[in-house]
Symmetry: D2
Subunit: 244 residues, 4 copies
Amino acid sequence: MTSKCSAVVIGVGPQQGLGATLAAYFAAKGLHVFIAGRSPDKINAVAETIINSGNLATPVMADATLEDDVIHLFEVASLKQRRISIAAYNVDSNIPAPLLETGVESYEKLWRQNCLGAFLFGREAINSMKKFQQGTIIFTGATASLRARPPFTAFASTKAGLRALAQGMAREFGPLGIHVVHAILDGVLDGERARKQFPDFVKNKGQDGLMQLEAIAQTYWALHNQPASAWTHELDLRPYKEPF
Amino acid sequence: MTSKCSAVVIGVGPQQGLGATLAAYFAAKGLHVFIAGRSPDKINAVAETIINSGNLATPVMADATLEDDVIHLFEVASLKQRRISIAAYNVDSNIPAPLLETGVESYEKLWRQNCLGAFLFGREAINSMKKFQQGTIIFTGATASLRARPPFTAFASTKAGLRALAQGMAREFGPLGIHVVHAILDGVLDGERARKQFPDFVKNKGQDGLMQLEAIAQTYWALHNQPASAWTHELDLRPYKEPF
Amino acid sequence: MTSKCSAVVIGVGPQQGLGATLAAYFAAKGLHVFIAGRSPDKINAVAETIINSGNLATPVMADATLEDDVIHLFEVASLKQRRISIAAYNVDSNIPAPLLETGVESYEKLWRQNCLGAFLFGREAINSMKKFQQGTIIFTGATASLRARPPFTAFASTKAGLRALAQGMAREFGPLGIHVVHAILDGVLDGERARKQFPDFVKNKGQDGLMQLEAIAQTYWALHNQPASAWTHELDLRPYKEPF
Amino acid sequence: MTSKCSAVVIGVGPQQGLGATLAAYFAAKGLHVFIAGRSPDKINAVAETIINSGNLATPVMADATLEDDVIHLFEVASLKQRRISIAAYNVDSNIPAPLLETGVESYEKLWRQNCLGAFLFGREAINSMKKFQQGTIIFTGATASLRARPPFTAFASTKAGLRALAQGMAREFGPLGIHVVHAILDGVLDGERARKQFPDFVKNKGQDGLMQLEAIAQTYWALHNQPASAWTHELDLRPYKEPF
């Protein structure tokens, strides 16, 4: 089994995470999914699960913040004349801290993961997609993309920076056929992290009070399928009972 | 053939318009569509076309700005214990004018059609939907919803007012299971109006340079199908090459 | 004593209100202030206080929602070849209610006071100012101008509508020398209303936790004095400890 | 002559630049101004001019992107028990480029100058101001702070990041008495750079079509003088005839 079309998902960690869910969803739709992350164990496990369910996946070690890794990732995904249909940037780093206790290192790390990586990922996705004049690039934003509050000031600065990157890319490359989306996830993801770190919160919210990962994947897929005459650049996504 | 679920679309005019397209799309998905507008000829024609293609439709005379009409519309759509799945507010009135030449009558007319009607439509949709704790209400916005420019100042005032209505409704009724969406259409619709009024513009833009009505319907339907754990309240939609 | 320059303030009520404070501030700066409102007792009292302190004021009965009243107001303020330097729209009507309990009458009343009146006031101010190619028009906005929440959905709709009006006017008439400002007051005013209606809240907030009326007037005056090469169209104003 | 109060301006370059103008303006108001920049010739010249006009100024070599420099700057400005009244971040770096030609180095440089420097400057200003529970910090934003367009995508990303920093700081430290402002300059500054680089543009715009530096300083000073009960966090500033 082969596919002429591929998807690239970066920021893939645990099986119960958004990256893994997006990858499995895109693979189930017939795309060969390239699963990028920094932990070989994690990306291998995610790829294996997809392959075991009869779909196509390849793990690729990549640190989003390293230019060579990102270039290599898109080279691999483009091999055998594959077209990259979707590229999803799912890296997200948060280090909450009061401003006066925020160090340069911490702010720089956030910028590298939330902004620099997105810049590299977007740039190389576009470099791969431009000759086909098609492809969808989706950046995952957060509540903080639109408003900065303590103790998330440094984080918000980088998520706002990511939002602007996505907007500039959309304006520059939309007319060339590349669909760039910024999806603002305004809620807590129902993934491994939340379940481990605050199990009571998860229980109290109830199933639909958290963002189901598959539900997010469904909307990302719908965005990818929008005809070029009616593209969305930005949308919010939140649980029905999330206050906003 | 019957359906337990209905859709209500108000602001239905010509067959080649957004209202008619939304109605036909929802009907093709199995909903009984209630087609509301002020022109009996137009709503009858749209309903007939849907029925002839084997789907369910009922025309209902209704002026969105008249409370009794809107109440009646939702009563009719709720008959036979039907649940209203989707309600789409597609009324849109624009009267471009320099500010100093804008009269009270003109501004009031815009407010009645773009705001008061939306208020009544949303309120009555919610009144019908609340006992089932489900349903999607979609308001159609425009570029002017976010920015006011001459000669569209009065128009923009009412579209901004509509946007706020939708946002307040989403905050109040989301937690009760009603999904309220504000969709910002940022481009020219490829409908009868544009084709008649500026045929050269339409030709120059090319097919995907205008908003295809079916493409908009596809996204409205995807919004309706979002699981409650990941709802979108607001999104933009524009042709791939529309500058923004 | 006479002045070639006048100010118009509409929405003047109690002496301890924003309208009265703006009027007194502008009068103290040497402008002949025209004090407009619906209550003869109130506007007379405000005018008298200003005159007693040695400055110039004239009360003018005017309902902001009535076209003839607004036209008359600016005619009076322009008599004796006076130039209108500042016009401040300070009418603000709020009727909190859950959406399902909001009636057409109530929403329409809000629109008339927050939008239609502002439209008339702005249009007639511009009609008076345009031949001199100068003048400042300030519209007072609120937290709800930017976000709609229950039970303020209808109110927010009209404040968002006002904001768009101001923005469109600024874009159309800025290049003609008329400075249009939208000032978003994000806090509780330390006026007669708050002191009467929630005295405990006022006490707990402390003096600077409420918006001092004179402090607002100071900023409005600074906005009026901005050179044409660096005008502000929109700004927020809030007490230092107001959460936002 | 001495002053108990100081101002710190960083990003001071040519005499006909915004940094120098702010410094001279604050000095003329009686503050001892600390003039920070990377070029000893430039900051010395600016300080000398201020001193020659009878006011107080001290040049301090500082690169905003270096933590030690910024810490040292605020130490110097706080000597002799001086209170820092105003701190203005005026560093602004722009490197226009199509996205596909934007290198990591270039994006990182923009981030260091527009974001990291602002973070350090804000943090150290707050560290100096907090014991007095007073002080105004002003960050200079740009059109790109709100919208990203090619060829300014990387630049806009960092200006959006700066805006979020300022917002988070305002939310965290406003209640502690520190006034944080984000001023969006939406126009071309009438400074040495514009006059040299595009003299025809400057001529065509006319004097008030460019942002006069003194006009900006006037508004910064008015912001500093706002009473704590009515502070502005964000405002735009643009020439009267600038389209927006």
